[in-house]
Symmetry: C2
Subunit: 331 residues, 2 copies
């Protein structure tokens, strides 16, 4: 039984956003009325960046609002898309006259509501928009259906677009960087246990103690299969190897690696997972040019990890390294 630090479950996302803003008053502001998280001090004369989606993936997206990353985050209820009107408000709020890039994870509701918002924004030529669709989850690759889900690569998209926008790039350039990252990054995950919804006491699904869910989604969607429980090195290899193959990495390739906790993995586990990723790649002659390990794109308190690999193109690294100052990512 998992009890929670919670008041009213249905208020959890907005209370959490209020708490995040109270903790980071110099970085972000929360407009409860409009359902938006904005920078405490809006940026001027740069391409705006808006992203959003269901809550339950914290610190995504509100934790990535700030200088060098997003201008506005538009949170929905837990695992539910924000409304089109909310996204529209967010898009307008993100605009400082040079247009807005909408970063959208590939889920039906998000895609629909961001599309409507984009149309609303353009209706009286109010705000020029470009959309970057993030669909990095290798587990959901198929020839038909809704396509791959958007997961932790959205962090890389937001970071790279954010740096490009901060450097003064135009709308199309910022969007093109984002599309390149989305096109090239792939993610794969496993879970040892599912997350527990606010107000519930049991996880969304249970696993046989001898099994691990491979390719699980960030809403607790079932994965591509179950594999035997094993040590960290073995489980991480099951993520890294298919990503390396899919990306066509070979000896001498260099990648950016994001080792992402799904909410319930604690720091020792994440660092051990990160070690395993580094070793597995090194063993194949692949250089980790940059890496991150932390809980960035979560699924409530799911115990698990995702690995995202992105080819470390020479022109992306300066954007990756550029300063960022948000509640959840700062350097």
């Amino acid at each position: 039984m998992r009890r929670q630090i919670l008041n009213l479950p249905e208020k959890a996302p907005e209370e959490a956003l209020e708490g995040l803003a109270l903790t980071n008053p110099t970085l972000i502001a929360y407009d409860r009325e409009r359902g938006l998280v904005t920078r405490a001090t809006p940026a001027r004369d740069k391409v705006g960046l808006v992203s959003g989606g269901g809550s339950g993936h914290e610190p995504l997206h509100a934790g990535f609002v700030g200088s060098g990353m997003l201008d506005v985050a538009v949170p929905g209820a837990v695992f539910a898309s924000p409304t089109a009107l909310q996204v529209h408000e967010g898009t307008v709020a993100a605009d400082s006259g040079r247009g807005v890039v909408q970063i959208v994870k590939n889920y039906t509701g998000d895609v629909l509501n961001f599309r409507i918002a984009g149309e609303l924004a353009g209706d009286d030529n109010a705000v020029a928009t470009e959309t970057v669709l993030v669909d990095d989850d290798l587990a959901t690759q198929s020839d038909d259906g809704p396509g791959r889900r958007g997961t932790a690569a959205v962090l890389a998209v937001e970071k790279i677009c954010g740096a490009s926008a901060e450097a003064g790039a135009d709308l199309r350039t910022v969007a093109e960087f984002g599309r390149r990252v989305a096109r090239n990054a792939r993610t794969l995950s496993f879970a040892l246990s599912a997350g527990t919804h606010p107000g519930e006491t049991s996880p969304a699904f249970t696993l046989d103690p001898a099994e691990v869910e491979l390719g699980v989604g960030i809403h607790g969607e079932r994965g591509t299969g179950r594999v035997p429980f094993a040590d960290a090195d073995t489980l991480i290899a099951r993520l890294v190897d298919p990503l390396v193959t899919e990306l066509g990495c070979t000896r001498g390739s260099a990648v950016v690696a994001i080792v992402n906790g799904l909410g319930g993995a604690y720091p020792i586990e994440l660092s051990i997972a990160a070690r395993a990723v580094h070793h597995r790649l090194a063993g194949q002659g692949i250089t980790v040019a940059r890496s991150l390990a932390g809980s960035y794109v979560t699924s409530l308190d799911m115990v698990g990890v995702s690995v995202t690999l992105l080819p470390a193109d020479a022109d992306l690294l300066p954007l990756w390294d550029a300063p960022v100052r948000t509640p959840a990512l700062t350097w």
Copy 2:
């Protein structure tokens, strides 16, 4: 049953440190031979800062090594003090000619081993040392016995001493700042469930679903009592109110507040706890001058939170605000 992302349990701390260093190669280096985490680039001509203690509290202490905070962290096994020789090596490694402040949480083993290391360092006048003892846990206050335990206030001590050392203060001044923070800061915690040791599948203790452990320690030590499970606002009030009384805060007081996750609380829960802390203090006319909310001083995957309050003296705030660049704290 809690399964873990783990290889050999007994190797977990060192594998985690290796992973942390691989993820943050520009910030820290891990010397497995000597059992030390140092800055990637050692500082010159400043007072050195060394801290350490048992593992299982990550990101503490290794995650706080870097510019503006520690020079060296000396990790023990899970919940076990590092050896005196290890601390001695760390003390020597932290010295750049201006002496070393040892920051020690108040546990018998740590106190003993840091004391021996301090004596070893002074034996041939090799390194001048000062010790700051951190004993902030209000739950263990009593007139006799080993005194209060050291918990999350160590983060504030490391931050303030780190900034003071970086600004060029001498050994005694840096230590005095640390002692003041340790003297004035108090912490109180509650847990909804205990942490699970690496390699185990059950938590260290179990609670009745109707109860919450108040005043729990970061090694899973039992608290001062059990109180009925309640909503976040109610539970947080049980932490904040005694702290306010103990610190003698009144209407118009200003504090630094650290809302610390104990390892298993996920971001929504921590932000809701942070909101509750802010509201509870505001309701008493107390200003939160600065605050942090995150999992900084943990107890494996314990689900719970601690609140640390520190009076926001005018000369402390610039040191709090000074730049810091470590794996787990950067601004």
